[in-house]
Amino acid sequence: MSLEKLNADQFEKIIYNNGEPSLVIFSRKSCHVCQGVIPVLEDLKPNYEGKFGFYYVDVEDDKTLFQSFSLKGVPQILFFNEGEYQGKLAGAVDEEKVEDKIADVLEG
């Protein structure tokens, strides 16, 4: 299932205002590592329907967003709960790492 793309406004609304527990992958089309990680998230998404949000931000379309998190590369998966930043995963991550991190966020 494909990830919902966020722009800066939607990011503000969904992540900060609604405070939904979520992950957001910052990626770009020309990054082959990103293109390998996105399918991992797409496969996981259905397992967390209604419990955890899966979103993505294209750093080329929304520069201000990655600058505001002073990111140093893509892909980066950022985790949020109740509008608060909960940490990130960088680079080529696998299913288990993402699942573990989601569990942490939901428990925390």
């Binding site: 020309s30 082959h32 590592v33 293109q35 990655f66 140093k72 893509v74 980066q76 680079g91």
Partner: protein, 407 residues
């Protein structure tokens, strides 16, 4: 192991230029072909901004070229699967492949085209700060270092060309080079351009010892190989371009011969040591690793695989499904006496009103078959009934004796 999800003639592991070319040839030869690829189709080529040496394309981005390759393969009916191969069983005639998503596929032939990945230096901080200033792909990450100081490790084509690309964003790029002053591993054109680039600095005779920083990269420790002295340099980013390693770890238990560095040795047909298994592109032992040579590999392997599958089918219908008993004659084309024996065997069979069907196998080219029946010398004859071995003939004998063995 689960049930077989799907059966193919040819499975190609990897969707870079080698795999996609194999897919084009496989599809065109009407083989039922599947490409299994874990990321985006195109592989590492996707990270190349500019390709200027692929024939027929004056200048094209890696991504666009790979899209053309994929479209071409799809036009011949090739299937694509986004998944990762985690296990293989190549011990039987039908090769079995298990993926990360738990699917199981079988095929008559397999082409390994899984390419390579950036080599890690395994120094402190390198892994911990990945994505926090440590990077391996300039196209992906250069932009994050706008106005900052970046260190590039390596002096090959990739290091120097990517380093120059990073200068578009960074304030300064410092290249750490193993060699004496003035010596870079890259091509001469790039070297000259790099030396003229006012944003590029070089530190010679040196290597990186450590990447420093708490949450983000704050600096590096550089070791001078001549003096042994360590110096620190503040920076916000480190790009490693210290070569590639083949992505063949998932084949450790497969029985495929792999050299010390992880590359798969093949012969000129791209055959590995295992029957029906081929290796192409960056993951094989070879001289030149370019899109054009990868494509050449893919074509060779697909044609070799097609012939192999055809021969196997022919053997199965000729020998295993034959109504008559079969005399499987192993001969050596370079050995006259074994050729003469073939003529003798045909004469005897004629006298017996063609009671048997004679199938000749060249021992020197059909090594797999010879191995299957444990044949070491020519001539040798195995008598088969519906594929089952009935007996072996004594070939060092007279025509009468041969005849009596067959009556």
């Amino acid at each position: 192991m689960g049930d077989i999800t799907s059966t193919y003639d040819l499975i190609i592991v990897g969707g870079g230029p080698a795999g996609l070319t194999a897919a084009i040839y496989g599809g065109r030869a009407k083989l039922k072909t599947l490409v299994i690829n874990k990321g985006t189709v195109g592989g590492l080529v996707n990270t190349t901004r500019e390709i200027v040496n692929y024939p027929g394309y004056g200048q094209i981005s890696g991504e666009d070229l790979m899209k053309d390759f994929k479209k071409h393969a799809e036009s011949f009916g090739t299937d694509f699967l986004r998944d990762e191969v985690v296990r293989t069983d190549f011990s039987q005639e039908d090769k079995v492949i298990t993926t990360k998503k738990g699917k199981v596929y079988s095929s008559k032939a397999v082409i390994i085209a899984c390419g390579s990945e950036p080599r890690l230096l395994n120094i402190p901080g390198e892994k911990r700060l990945q994505g926090s200033g440590v990077a391996y792909c300039a196209t992906c990450d250069a932009e994050f270092f706008e106005g900052e100081d970046v260190v590039v490790v390596g002096s090959g084509d990739q290091a120097i060309e990517e380093g120059m690309y990073i200068t578009k964003f960074a304030r300064k790029v410092t290249v750490i080079v193993l060699h004496d002053e003035g010596i870079l591993d890259c091509n001469k054109v790039s070297a000259e351009r790099a030396f003229q680039n006012p944003k590029m600095d070089f530190i010679w005779n040196s290597t990186l010892e450590e990447v420093q920083g708490q949450d983000n990269v704050e600096g590096v420790k550089i070791k001078n190989l001549k003096t042994g002295a360590s110096t620190e340099l503040a920076c916000q980013g480190v790009f490693f371009f210290v070569g590639m390693v083949p992505s063949t770890h998932f084949l450790q238990e497969s029985g495929i011969e792999i050299d010390k560095r992880g590359y798969i040795p093949v012969n000129e047909l791209m055959e590995t040591n295992l029957e029906g298994v081929y290796a192409v592109g960056d993951n094989r032992v070879k001289y030149l690793r370019q899109v054009v040579s990868a494509a050449g590999d893919g074509a060779t392997a697909a044609v070799a695989a097609e012939r192999y599958i055809e021969e196997m089918k022919a053997f199965n219908s000729n020998v295993l499904e034959s109504d008559k008993q079969v005399l499987l004659l192993f001969f050596n084309a370079q050995d006259n006496s074994s050729l003469e024996f073939g003529t003798l065997l045909e004469e005897v069979n004629q006298e017996l009103q063609e009671r048997y069907k004679i199938v000749k196998v060249d021992l020197t080219t059909k090594k797999n078959l010879a191995q299957k029946y444990g044949i070491e010398k020519a001539p040798s004859v195995v008598v088969l009934d519906k594929g089952q071995e009935v007996k072996r003939l004594d070939c060092l004998t007279t025509i009468e004796n041969l005849k009596s063995q067959l009556c």
